[in-house]
């Protein structure tokens, strides 16, 4: 078993090394016709000439390309133009990352490449570099499941020490793995979604010149993520943490010649660094105070540290989680990260990496349990982010952006749960969210792929005719996200809401219900806009719309199974499901953290009552979801003019302004642009002035002073011996006088 655990992260690492070494020789990608790297070097709406060139280079369907672009230019209404115009002129990173909203879909060429266009001359295209990485991840998945079963059903925990890495006096760091129920839960999500994304990518990345590179990155990511969740000490957690950040950077910027992708990658990296600085400081503080980084040692010793120090540690750790899990105010990178290929969005930015923050806080639960103030901060930021991101998701038109903000909002749910001490509920939601959000992202990728690269939902529609599998699997995922009974999201989300209610956080509960309603609404707004109604894009593209390849649809179908079942299996009966039994040991010590005095949970706990308070809570949660779906159906299927009228009916004429604010993500990016990018430039200019004038002035001044003194002194050197003699005599006299005076 120990060997098995050690092999779990090792296998993807081997796959990565293999891909790096020989991957490029295994593929043969036609060098013309799919040359989207160079062709899409400048896909901004201002560079129309470039885009037309790229249409020529992309040998297939140039007309369709033009049509798409014209349609895109003509579609935005007055209000929607506000969406793109503020960003159009920015050249800086922050704005770059947003610039490509619904401009030129990056996967256009890829998508059509799938339709069987093969260069008539030259060898057949050949893709074999996926075999080894995917096979290794498959084996890894098998091992993970064995470990999962042993831990969850066998009730064991494993410590595996591979070797001692650092030994310096009392300070010891081992490369060691630790598997308990919490890790096992993460292992389930990471390895399952990871494997499915590998399979999915075989179809999705077909035709891309970076095919082997993509699999290399994916394997490196799997390795890093597994290191993160398996690590037995904070240093290994941190290494995995930074490594997944690096992979995220590499994969967001996978199409690195596209400025928006490169900018988004940079943005994700920089924003994550801000949080990681806090995380690193937190780890250093732990080591300074406790002298160890091992989870066991830290959690044993944390009780002896003063209240304020624990709070600072907890807040610093949480800063890292805020960055990695994209919580306000560091949420800005995640929506832009959608510039990456869609499998990356599904794997990294929905199902696994963004969960790292939740995992880390949950893992550090003994620390947080000792820091009530930090718990409040976690819950407060969580609930605020939940409603904030949901309010942005309401109006986004890019299918992936809707899902991205939804991810932010759902992660925020988890943090709310963590903050109120509902640890198991948070992990439950993490697991179910990992599955259904992975499913939704892969489904959106299938839509983008099948619809010729179109991501703008205003130009989609009616796809259910042609993409039955994608439609039904995405509906299942959406029902789960909307929290409709029997689907996974229902149990996990309502558990969080129920815990908030029982523990006495009434405000959080109410906001949570509102968010649930908004979630259901925007999720089904996305479904209805994409799959219902009629096709709103150009005609030529419609002819090419097709269901995706089996390698892409199969993972969707497979993921739909846990999306339906995870809730029933893990969560029944509500508030006392199996997952609580499994995770009970992990959170034993911290179970009562966060319970407010006077709340239901603080009194006698009489268990869940289906026909009592608990059942009523479930009903409210389900009703919020159903109402949201019904509203979306009314607005986006039955009466499509209704949303615009509703906006006008908001009193005091606030409607259009609110709409614009939501479309523009409440201007957070613009504020950051103003404060940090512009402000940075201003500060830089001030510092430059200081450097040029004061620092350089001092240095040059010193030089000039020496020059000036030397210029004066050189007149003394006459070259005449008698002058020197006079000098000596005068000196002698002076010495004599001094001698006589101070004797």
């Amino acid at each position: 078993m120990e060997l098995l655990i050690a092999l779990i992260p090792a296998l993807p690492l081997i796959g990565f090394l293999f891909s790096v070494l020989v991957g490029s020789r295994l593929d043969h990608v036609p060098s013309h016709g799919h040359d989207d790297y160079d062709a899409q070097a400048h896909p901004t709406d201002t560079d129309a000439a470039d885009v037309h060139e790229s249409a020529d280079v992309a040998a297939h369907a140039p007309d369709a390309h033009d049509e798409v672009e014209e349609a895109l230019e003509s579609v935005p209404t007055e209000e929607e133009q506000a969406e793109t115009s503020p960003h159009a002129g920015h050249a800086d990173d922050l704005a770059n990352a947003q610039g490509a909203d619904g401009v030129i879909p990056e996967e256009l060429n890829n998508g059509l490449g799938q339709s069987g266009h093969v260069a008539p001359d030259g060898p057949q295209p050949r893709y074999r570099s996926w075999i080894v990485p995917t096979a290794l991840v498959g084996i890894m998945w098998l091992f993970s499941m064995v470990v999962f079963a042993n831990v969850i059903f066998g009730g064991k925990t494993f410590h595996v020490t591979v070797y001692e890495w650092i030994a310096s006096g009392d300070f010891k760091i081992e490369i060691a793995f630790f598997v308990d129920a919490l890790t096992a839960m993460l292992l389930l999500v990471v390895s399952s979604v990871g494997l499915l994304v590998h399979v999915y990518s075989i179809g999705y990345m077909n035709g891309d010149r970076g095919f082997w590179r993509f699999f290399a990155y994916l394997n490196l990511f799997m390795f890093s993520m597994l290191l993160l969740i398996l690590g037995d000490n904070y240093l290994m957690l941190y290494i995995g943490w930074e490594a997944v950040g690096l992979c995220s950077y590499a994969l967001i910027g996978f199409w690195y010649k596209k400025p928006s992708a490169a900018g988004a990658a940079k943005k994700a990296f920089v924003v994550n660094r801000i949080g990681d600085l806090g995380f690193a400081l937190g780890i250093m503080m732990i080591w300074t105070l406790l002298g160890t980084l091992n989870f066991d040692g830290v959690f044993e010793g944390i009780g002896g540290v003063s209240q304020m120090q624990v709070t600072i540690i907890a807040l610093l750790l949480f800063a890292g989680a805020v960055g990695k899990s994209a919580q306000f105010p560091l949420h800005v990178w995640l929506p832009d990260a959608m510039e990456g290929p869609t499998p990356v969005s599904a794997l990294i930015h929905a199902a696994t990496m963004v969960n790292a923050g939740v995992y880390m806080v949950a893992r550090s639960n003994p620390i947080f349990a000792h820091a009530p103030i930090a718990m409040w901060v976690v819950a407060g930021i969580g609930i605020f982010t939940a409603i904030f991101a949901a309010a942005i998701a309401l109006t986004q038109n890019d299918i992936k952006k809707v899902l991205a903000y939804s991810t932010v909002s759902q992660l925020a749910y988890m943090f709310t749960a963590l903050g109120i001490g509902a640890w198991a509920a948070a992990i439950f939601h993490l697991v179910s969210h990992g599955f259904f959000k992975g499913l939704l992202f892969m489904g959106s990728g299938s839509v983008i792929h099948g619809a010729g690269g179109e991501q703008d939902m205003r130009l989609l529609g009616g796809l259910r005719e042609k993409m039955k599998w994608t439609y039904w699997t995405m509906v299942i995922g959406s029902l789960a996200l909307a929290g409709i009974p029997i689907f996974a999201g229902f149990f996990s989300k309502d558990e969080i809401l129920g815990e908030a209610f029982n523990r006495g956080y009434l405000l959080f509960y109410l906001v949570g219900v509102v968010v649930a309603f908004m979630t259901a609404f925007y999720t089904f707004r996305m479904i209805f806009m994409t799959f219902h109604g009629r096709w709103r894009g150009p005609h030529e593209v419609w002819r090419h719309v097709h269901e995706s390849a089996a390698t892409m649809v199969a993972p969707l179908a497979i993921l739909a199974v846990p999306t339906v079942l995870v809730g029933l299996l893990f969560g029944l009966p509500p508030e006392g499901g199996l997952i609580h039994g499994w995770l009970g040991g992990v959170f034993e010590e911290s179970d009562h953290a966060g319970i407010l005095p006077g709340s239901i949970a603080a009194g006698e706990h009489h268990g869940f009552e289906l026909f009592g308070g608990g059942g009523l809570l479930l009903l409210v949660g389900a009703a919020a979801g159903v109402l949201g779906i019904l509203l979306a159906y009314r607005w986006y299927v039955q009466r499509t003019e209704e949303p615009a009228r509703f906006v006008e009916r908001i009193p005091f004429g606030l409607g259009p302004g609110m709409y614009r604010a939501s479309v523009n993500k409440y201007y957070v990016d613009d504020i950051y642009q103003l404060i940090f990018a512009r402000g940075g430039v201003i500060v830089g200019e001030l510092l430059w002035w200081f450097d040029a004038k004061v620092i350089d002035g001092a240095v040059n001044g010193t030089g000039r002073l020496a020059d000036w003194i030397g210029g004066g002194l050189r007149k003394v050197q006459t070259g005449r011996v008698e002058n020197y003699g006079l000098g000596m005599a005068a000196g002698l006299v002076l010495v004599l006088i001094a001698f006589l005076v101070w004797r």
């Binding site: 070259g719 005449r720 011996v721």
Partner: protein, 101 residues
């Protein structure tokens, strides 16, 4: 007279030497002036030695030492001056100002 007389002579000699060194322009004469100053010092040393309460030869030895050094210095100095005079065709030190800045 006693010690003071010797010292006065010594001071006068030294002053003449110093003045000569600064006032004269001829290199050889300046060298002689230096010798004059050295000998003024020698005179005072020997005088101090003679008027010391306990018998001693230290001052005399010092004077001998200085004479030896002065002889060496005069030799080297003269050799240098002659070399300069040969190249510059003059003994006037005013003309030797090539080493100024």
């Amino acid at each position: 007279m006693g010690l003071a007389g010797y010292l006065i002579v010594s001071t006068v000699l030294f002053a003449i030497g110093a003045f000569g060194f600064m006032a004269r322009r001829n290199a050889i004469l300046m060298l002689i002036c230096i010798e004059l100053m050295l000998n003024a010092v020698n005179l005072s040393l020997v005088a101090f030695n003679a008027y010391r309460p306990t018998a001693s030869v230290n001052g005399a030895i010092f004077a001998l030492m200085i004479m030896a050094v002065a002889a060496a210095e005069a030799t080297v100095g003269l050799a240098l001056i002659i070399a300069i005079i040969r190249t510059r065709q003059t003994a006037e030190v005013d003309e030797y100002h090539d080493l100024k800045e």
